[in-house]
């Protein structure tokens, strides 16, 4: 493993039962780096994030995080070591208020810069609606709450799964505008996106998944449009 890496995904194979979703996938994230994972529907992007977060476990290969193997660790331990996932579709807890959703994100008790107050500074609208049930929020506000909930665990690495999905472009722009404030403290980020332009703008390193395999990787500014669409669509 490379010494300067925060996260090193090392040649993992991941299965759903008999179905193999990831083949020999490797990926590196350095401290403070924003990495984008792109690919078509069903390419294995969400599976990759779920595996890093500990919800699934690789059948072969391993995952190193700050030097420790986490490939077999359950999700509730992975979050304590400093990885937080903003799941696809936001998945706020419906029986909890907005504030309770944020508080439960801080349940693991990791110290760090993120607190309720700071989340409310970042997304003031959540502060106004803190006592409402999570279901009372609009789609964009729910996404902010889901990001806030993940930040509350003070992660070193934040995994964002399709945060623009189903949101109006203007709201997506607002949320992405907050990214510098989020990564400002040296946090690393993996973003999974359908919106390639958005991903390329935000990230320094890009991985393209195709049918469970890494089809292309490189620095965001070096990748050509043609190379990406070739890797994306497999043409």
């Amino acid at each position: 493993m490379r010494d300067d890496a925060l996260l090193q995904v090392d040649a993992i194979d991941v299965f759903y039962g008999d179905f193999q979703a990831l083949f020999d996938v490797s990926l590196t994230v350095k401290p403070g780096q924003v990495v984008a994972v792109i690919g078509a529907n069903g390419a294995g992007k969400s599976t990759l994030l779920r595996t890093i977060a500990g919800l699934m476990h690789p059948r072969a290969g391993d995952i190193q995080f700050v030097g420790a193997g986490i490939g077999r660790a359950p999700a509730y331990d992975v979050v304590k070591s400093g990885i937080a996932l903003v799941p696809e579709g936001r998945r706020l807890f419906q029986s909890l208020s907005v504030e309770e959703n944020l508080k439960i994100g801080g349940q693991s008790g990791r110290p760090g810069p993120w607190s309720l107050d700071r989340i409310y500074q970042l997304f003031p609208v959540l502060s106004e609606r803190r006592h409402l049930p999570a279901t009372a929020l609009s789609g964009g506000q729910q996404q902010m709450a889901a990001i806030g909930r993940a930040l509350m665990s003070n992660p070193k690495l934040l995994l964002c799964d399709e945060i623009s999905l189903g949101l109006a472009p203007i709201i997506v722009r607002d949320i992405y505008a907050q990214l510098p404030a989020i990564v400002g403290d040296g946090m690393s980020l993996i973003i999974v996106e359908q919106d390639i332009a958005q991903a390329l703008k935000a990230a320094s390193q890009v991985y393209c998944l195709q049918e469970g395999r890494i089809a292309l990787q490189g620095a965001a500014h070096e990748l050509t449009r043609d190379a990406i669409s070739a890797a994306y669509f497999g043409v």
Binding site: P74, A84, L85, Q94, L96, S108, S153
Partner: protein, 289 residues
Amino acid sequence: MTEWLNVILQGVLIGGLYAMFAAGLSLIFGVMRLVNIAHGDLIVLAAYVALTVTEAMGIGPLTSLILVVPAMALIGYALQRLLLNRTLGDDLLPPLLVTFGLSIIIQNGLLELFTADSQKLKAGAVEIMTYHLAPGIWIGLLPLIQFIVAVAVIAGLQVLFYRTALGRAFRATSDDQSVAQLMGLDTRHVFAMAMALSLAVIAIAGVFLAVRSNFDPSIGPARLIFGFEAVIIGGLGSMWGTLAGGIILGVSQAIGAQIDPGWQLLAGHIVFLAILAVRPQGLFPKVSG
């Protein structure tokens, strides 16, 4: 007239006990969608634990709660961690059949240890103390204590569920198990805590049951049914609803018994079936959202 008022009053008071049967059942269903067929037998188990403790240490039943409640909670935690967590999943059968097997094990284990003889916990002077409320209306101290404890238990569960980190963890895990794990919650532990809490409530209910009337190893299933009926009458997922459900069941049984002693249980079942027919969501279902 006063005779009927007395009947209804006694029904309300016994309803508190039924609400405690129901609360433990409702709690674990709410958190992990598990229906514990052994619930009634665990209530009887708690009564026997209390019997053993009171006899061995020479203390009163109410004092014995200090030991019985944590002991039952511990049993609940272990039961969930070692056995019941393995049964949870999409399939309905395993939890149902495993708790059914557990019910048979507890009943016959108690039979083996304590025989089929009826037992009763003696609480001493409080058992016979009564208050004169109005001309012709009397209220026993013990039923009153039992009712107040029941209300306190329900209120306590309500506060725990909606005001504490543990309650938040219960609700979050119930909503979405895998995202709960992303929050650092070990759902196996959360479920075990819920079962421990359920058995703590069972312990209180079991002691009051044992003080109030005779018990033997075979009476568990009927307590499960009373608790279940109170849950459905009150409406799934509502703690105060279970109290109302318990009271309605208690009053129905008391009125039935007043008409004809053979009608006590039947009256309760019929009210339950009637409510199921006209209002299957229960009287006070949890408002969603």
